[in-house]
Subunit: 351 residues, 2 copies
């Protein structure tokens, strides 16, 4: 047998944040693709459309009229998956049929008054406003709820039903599966090693360099060693930070800057407004605000679906759903491609 070459020889890698493995089979990129091709997403979006419920001055489903906002704009999701006043289900009569009450709130936050803009095309100061608002929301909702999930679905391919730039915030009275897993993994690592897992991880990645996409004085973006989506990234602070609201004003500024740089690279990869789902994970809130959460490190996950081009995505189906996630290029290959892309947006480049 030849020497091990990670770009030629399949292997599995361990994800210490989820206690799961990913199958890396980079040689599979050679296979021809005859499957589904996505619609190109660059359809014309008007800057202002009075019938779009996310626009300034528009009327929403519940009859309320949006203000003529000129920065961010926050409102309650008109079709919330979580509501504050759901009644309690009865006690389960069998351990295989367990139900619990789910209480919470769902908010929508518009990033900008224009429908035809996205984060990478916004100014750093405008992105900073978004971050400040997220931190404010985390404090407000986190006072009561143990989990406040801030996330953005971008692009039709990611189930986003409105092109107006916006994120969502779903707060719940329960700790959902994913943060529960991240909590357990980080807790165990901290107990065993005495350092927060993701602080140590960032330190290692800064030394190793091969998975770094962008960095600045406060932040680091890597394609994590265990990435499952082709161009998945992990955004990490360099110092130990528990929650978004713990960031200083300077750190929010440099976060806005690194987000703009990362998202510009994403758009430049296939010269398209790059679809993804992203979201923040930080220490749980509510009654856990009073507990020692030193094992946690704030981070954001970016999960973009595209694989080969603006219209060919990675399908997480069959084997991935039933057995284990599988990827077709190595995280190092993905990081190198992203790292080498220009930081000027293809749409604003002067030729």
């Amino acid at each position: 047998t030849p020497d091990f070459d990670q770009t030629e020889h399949q292997h599995i890698r361990y994800n210490p944040l989820r206690d799961m493995w990913v199958l890396v089979s980079a040689h599979r990129m050679k296979r021809p693709w005859k499957g589904q091709v996505e619609k190109p997403s660059e359809e014309y979006v008007p800057r202002h459309d009075p019938s779009n419920p996310l626009c300034p001055g528009a009327t929403r489903a519940n009859g309320m009229v949006n203000p003529e906002y000129d920065s961010t704009f926050l409102f309650d999701n008109d079709f919330p998956a979580l509501q504050p006043d759901a009644p309690e289900p009865g006690v389960s009569d069998h351990s295989l049929f367990q139900t619990k009450a789910a209480k919470g709130v769902c908010k929508v936050m518009c990033f900008h008054p224009w429908s035809d803009i996205t984060l990478p095309l916004m100014q750093v100061s405008e992105i900073k406003n978004v971050i400040d608002k997220w931190a404010e929301l985390l404090v407000d909702l986190g006072a009561t709820y143990p989990w406040v999930q801030i996330f953005e679905n971008k692009g039709a391919m990611m189930g986003c039903s409105n092109p107006h730039p916006h994120s969502q915030v779903w707060a719940s009275n329960f700790l959902p599966n994913e943060p529960r897993l991240a909590d357990r993994c980080q807790r165990e690592y901290y107990r065993d090693k005495g350092v927060p897992m993701l602080l140590e991880y960032a330190k290692q990645e800064i030394q190793r360099k091969e998975r770094v996409v962008v960095e600045n004085e406060d932040w680091l973006v890597v394609v994590p060693y265990w990435a499952t989506w082709p161009f998945q990234t992990l955004l990490l602070p360099r110092r130990h930070v528990l929650r978004l609201n713990d960031l200083s004003n300077e750190e929010r500024q440099s976060l806005a800057s690194i987000m703009k740089r990362l998202l510009t690279k994403y758009d430049n990869l296939f010269e398209i407004s790059f679809p993804y789902s992203m979201g923040w994970h930080g220490a749980p809130t509510g009654h856990q605000l009073a507990e020692d959460m030193s094992h946690w490190q704030l981070h954001a996950h970016y999960y973009p679906p595209l694989l080969r081009s603006s219209t060919i995505r990675k399908f997480m189906v069959g084997y991935e759903m039933l057995a284990q996630e599988q990827r077709d290029l190595t995280p190092e290959q993905a990081a190198e491609r992203l790292r080498n892309l220009p930081e000027e947006h293809y749409k604003t480049k002067a030729d």
Copy 2:
């Protein structure tokens, strides 16, 4: 607060096979959909296409010519994610950077010589051939490999890159994440209660009836209490069975029959060839063939993506990827819709 009504009030339900919860918010079906609409999948597929590498007599990527097969046909995947001879990666130098060798094989099994047929339109005896072949493969590959994942990706929406009816079999030298989780959950239940979890579950569902889709003397199909995909189903034997190859000839016959009935209902739901990923989970093989695996019960999962119509799917994005899976109709509502559909296929119905 009013009385709890599961079709009006969101709640979470526990999945005892995965130790995870799902958020059920049935009232959300009322929200309008302005997002991505899928291409209708009923495109013309020729019965025989000599350039399709899955057809009888066609030449594959590696230059081999398929036989003029007239039943099932098995061959090695020409772009395998797993190969038997991958070299060993070196020892990891840090616990956050763990790699292991992945060895295995990937096979493709065509169900039928025709490209324009699908399982629900095949005869029961033809489906029985598929089942026999799956059982044979499990014995062959299971002799060496601890996990043999048999699965089918059906439809372009599920990343299937070839319309010719086929399934895949990926065998690996490791127990992948999903079966590892199912193994742990079933093991713990068996240790605590003394009965296999899914045997007890089937018994309960037969009594409760509200989630049953179809049943016969040997088999039961339910929308599981904890289903995440809108029309997800779980196919279970009524008696305790560890693996596919333990099924008697009669049980394979009745399995073929119930598969045809279930898949016909699926197609009839939106009068379309219903996309899904499905796969079998049974007791691990390889060195575990010699161990006591009584906690296991054979079962198949069906994960179909469609939600509202033949072109509107459920997106498992943002909140689902970062926090917890969420569904928009109750499992009982889904089961009722499927149960009430005719068992005659819409394409063969005489008007």
